[in-house]
Every structure is written in structure tokens, then in C-alpha cells.
């Protein structure tokens, strides 16, 4: 016979898994530090690539001036400026990513709480059903 309560809980779980859960369930598999750490590493590579591209574009734009004045330029100072710019940009974006990912992780945890509660309910229902079926088999054996 169908267990209505079980069907109700399973429907709720399925709705969550196909809706909001799609976004939050993968996040919940990570520890907070792992999740944010991975995002920071990804951010480091992305910002580095973008900075190299940006610097190359600026260098290409000023290529004529660069070629004309390169012998007069203080290259160490220029290098230091480029590195300082990179550190500032990386630090800024790292802070931004840290804040965004922290908020995202805490939202996921909050959202998933109800899902785990429903899962707990479902486990209890299964345990009850198993108990009942065991009792039935014992009764049958006694009759036999």
C-alpha cells in the first residue's frame, strides 16, 4: 500500500533537488574553507590572465612611445609599478571573491537545512516500514 506521508516527503525532496537544490547541493558537499579556498585559487588564475592581457593591450597601445623612449626609461621603476598594480588588483578581487563566496556558502547552508530535515523524516519512515515488515514476517513464522 502507498504511504502518503512518504510520497509527500519524497515530492518535497524532488522539488528542492530540481529547483533551488541544483544551485546549493553541490556547494554543500564542500567544507567552508575548501569551497572558499578553491574559489580564491580560481580567482588568482583568472585575475592573473586578465592582468597580463590588460598590460599587453596597454603596451601595444603605447608601443610607439615605448620604443622611442625605452632607452631613457627606468625599467625597474616601471616593473615595480606593474607588480604593485597587479598586487592591488589581485587583493581587491580576492576580497570581493571572499565576501561573495562566504555569503553564497552561508545561503546554501541555510537553504539546505530544510532539505536535510526532510531527508531525516524519510529515513524515519523507512525505518518504521522496515520494522513493520520484520514484525509481519515474525508473525507469519509463529503462525506456521
Amino acid at each position: 500500500m502507498l504511504n502518503e506521508e512518504k510520497v509527500r516527503v519524497m515530492t518535497k525532496l524532488a522539488i528542492y533537488e530540481q529547483g533551488e537544490g541544483k544551485k546549493y547541493l553541490p556547494i554543500s558537499k564542500y567544507y567552508r574553507s575548501d569551497y572558499i579556498g578553491l574559489a580564491m585559487i580560481k580567482n588568482f588564475f583568472l585575475v592573473s590572465i586578465a592582468y597580463v592581457m590588460l598590460t599587453a593591450l596597454i603596451a601595444l597601445y603605447y608601443l610607439d612611445e615605448l620604443l622611442e623612449t625605452i632607452h631613457k626609461m627606468n625599467l625597474i621603476k616601471l616593473g615595480a609599478q606593474i607588480i604593485i598594480g597587479y598586487i592591488i588588483l589581485l587583493a581587491g578581487y580576492s576580497v570581493l571573491v571572499y565576501v561573495i563566496q562566504t555569503v553564497k556558502y552561508s545561503r546554501a547552508k541555510k537553504s539546505i537545512k530544510n532539505y536535510y530535515m526532510q531527508l531525516g523524516k524519510l529515513t524515519k519512515i523507512y525505518a518504521k516500514e522496515e520494522k513493520r515488515s520484520q514484525n509481519r514476517t515474525v508473525l507469519r513464522r509463529d503462525k506456521v
Binding site: L60, Y61, I100
Partner: protein, 348 residues
């Protein structure tokens, strides 16, 4: 007004009924519009400019996730730019990557507005998208709106300079310098960019306030500020702004904003309730604005004719009632079910 509300409800019901098909159809329309705009704005590569290709890719995008429209649009733009020159395609690709890394990877769902912006500008309604995004979206939409405006002007500049860019005596460095100058020194672009982002944030700010008619005030303030920014910007930067066209387009955008408000927001401020209560920790001052709701009329046509009541009622009865033989025909053979049941139980 009642008729309008009834129509809104009917439209809502219709959308709910066919949500899957309608969402795909709307996606197709947006993708088609966006790809068609790219085709007309650039259209240098003949294979990609083929209307058949545009329709097929738009159809594909209608069943794919929303971001597919943006990705396919990027591919179209790169293809057309490649037809002009590899340096142009390189710069376009670099711009895309920079836009994604520095901005669009953080704006998530708000990126959906990206293909709408060029369509709004191409339809001569540049104020519509920032007003609409401020009403329906979050401040994060400012990122895709800004990126999309930059790309719109890059595309129009490439089209304008197509002949120069295609000439063989152009070196890579000169091509890049020309394109970057065309972008960075384009005051028209900066004016539209600053006005659009400013208006979007302002509309969002006013719309989220708790005073009465905040949505309508947001639309009016947004339209007025957009006009003001464009006018003063044009004056100080020495740009030739067509004031009549700008005013008309802004008014039309504001009117469309009201249409959007009618469908997206349904607060009835005349029935606003102010509640005040407290618990152990807080005092609560609550303002509750009821939603305007109207139930669509269910019209039943009752036929009154000369046929006797008994014969006319039977077809209208629900199946369950029809299945009861004692109610159907009064003169039929009487069956005592209780007796039959008792007999069958005895047999058992």
C-alpha cells in the same frame, strides 16, 4: 481598469498553463532578435550572416540554458570580426574575456539582460533597459548593462571603420590603436554608459523605498534623470544630442516602464494598512500593501428550452451521480444492495 486587471489575470493564467512552451518561445524571440541585430550591425562574414543560420541557432538557444544566447552571440561577433581581420577578432576576444573576468562572472542571473541592451539601443529606446532592470532586477545588473553598452559601441565602430580596418597597409599596432581610440575617446559611449548605470541604480534605490507609489516614482525619476544626464553631458562634452528624439524616446521608455509595473507589481495603495505591535525583543511598524487581485469571471451558459427537466438534466450530471441507478430513472427495476451484500457475506 477592471478589464485591464482581468486581462492581466488571464494572461497570467495563460502563461502558467503553457509556461514551458512560452518560456522557450520568448527565449527564441530574444535570441533571434539579438543574433539578427549582430547580423545587421556587423554582417561581414557571409556564412554567419545567412538568415537560415540565425534562425537555426536561435531555435537551438530556445532549448538551451539562457547563457547560451550570450555565448553564441559572442561567437557570432568573433566570426564577423575575423572577417574584417584577425587583429580585430583578437581585440574583441580580449575585450570579452576582460569583461567576463572583471565583471560578468559576479553578476550571475543578472547577465540575462546582456542581449537586451543592444536591442533597446537599436530600437532607439536606450532608457528602457536601465529603467526595466532597476524595476525588476538588482544593482548587479549594472555590470552586464555597462559591458553590453561598451560592446555595442565597439561593434558599431568596427562597422563604421570596416574599410580602413580591411586595408592591407594597416599594421596590427595601428589597428589596435584605432579601435581602442574609437572606444576610449567615444564620448557618446561614456555618456550613455554613465547615464544608464546611474539611472539603473537610482530606479532600484527609489523602487525599494517604502513610500506610496514607489514604483511609479522610480520610473518618473529615472526618466527625468536620464534626460538630464544626457542633456548636460551633451552640453559639456560638446556633443550633438537630438533633444526631441531623446525626449520622445525617454517618454516612450517611461510609458513602457509603466506597462512593466502594471504586470510586475500589483499593489493597491488605497487599501494600505499600518500595523504596530511588539514582542520581547522588537517593536514592529509594519506597512502592508494589499495586492490587487481579480478573479476572472467563469461564464456558464444555461440553456432553457422546452425539453422536460428529467431528460435535460441527465447529461449534465457528473459521472459519479450518473452512475447511481436509483437517481437516474425512477421507474427502473429496484435493486436492494444491502440484501445482496448480506447474502454475499454469508456465502463467504
Amino acid at each position: 481598469m477592471t478589464a485591464l486587471l482581468e486581462m492581466k489575470q488571464k494572461l497570467k493564467n495563460f502563461y502558467e498553463q503553457y509556461e514551458g512552451y512560452l518560456a522557450s518561445f520568448l527565449k527564441f524571440l530574444l535570441a533571434f532578435g539579438y543574433f539578427w541585430w549582430i547580423r545587421t550591425a556587423l554582417g561581414m562574414m557571409e556564412r554567419l550572416a545567412n538568415p537560415f543560420v540565425v534562425v537555426i541557432t536561435a531555435l537551438l538557444c530556445s532549448i538551451l540554458p539562457f547563457n547560451a544566447i550570450i555565448a553564441v552571440g559572442f561567437v557570432f561577433i568573433l566570426g564577423h570580426c575575423y572577417a574584417v581581420g584577425i587583429e580585430v577578432a583578437g581585440l574583441a576576444a580580449a575585450m570579452m574575456l576582460l569583461m567576463i573576468i572583471f565583471g560578468m562572472r559576479f553578476s550571475g542571473k543578472a547577465n540575462q539582460v546582456y542581449p537586451v541592451v543592444p536591442l533597446g539601443i537599436a530600437c532607439r529606446l536606450p532608457a528602457l533597459t536601465p529603467i526595466g532592470c532597476g524595476l525588476l532586477g538588482t544593482p548587479a545588473a549594472a555590470v552586464p548593462v555597462g559591458c553590453s553598452i561598451v560592446f555595442y559601441y565597439l561593434i558599431t565602430f568596427i562597422k563604421e571603420q570596416e574599410m580602413i580596418l580591411k586595408s592591407e597597409d594597416m599594421e596590427i599596432q595601428r589597428v589596435l590603436k584605432l579601435l581602442m581610440d574609437g572606444l576610449v575617446k567615444n564620448m557618446d559611449m561614456w555618456m550613455v554608459l554613465v547615464s544608464s548605470v546611474g539611472v539603473l541604480l537610482l530606479v532600484y534605490l527609489v523602487r525599494t523605498r517604502s513610500f506610496d507609489y514607489a514604483w511609479r516614482a522610480a520610473i518618473l525619476v529615472g526618466a527625468a534623470v536620464y534626460l538630464f544626464l544626457m542633456f548636460t553631458g551633451g552640453m559639456f562634452l560638446g556633443m550633438n544630442v537630438e533633444m526631441v528624439v531623446l525626449a520622445v524616446s525617454t517618454v516612450v521608455s517611461a510609458l513602457l516602464g509603466f506597462v512593466l509595473e502594471f504586470f510586475a507589481f500589483g499593489g493597491d495603495y488605497t487599501r494600505t494598512e499600518h500595523l504596530e505591535y511588539e514582542d520581547d525583543d522588537y517593536y514592529y511598524y509594519v506597512k502592508a500593501v494589499p495586492k490587487v487581485s481579480i478573479s476572472t469571471s467563469m461564464r456558464n451558459i444555461k440553456k432553457i428550452n422546452g425539453v422536460s427537466q428529467k431528460t435535460a438534466e441527465i447529461p449534465d450530471l457528473p459521472r459519479r451521480e450518473q452512475a447511481m441507478p436509483s437517481q437516474q430513472v425512477s421507474g427502473g427495476p429496484h435493486v436492494d444492495f444491502e440484501k445482496k451484500l448480506e447474502e454475499s457475506l454469508k456465502d463467504l
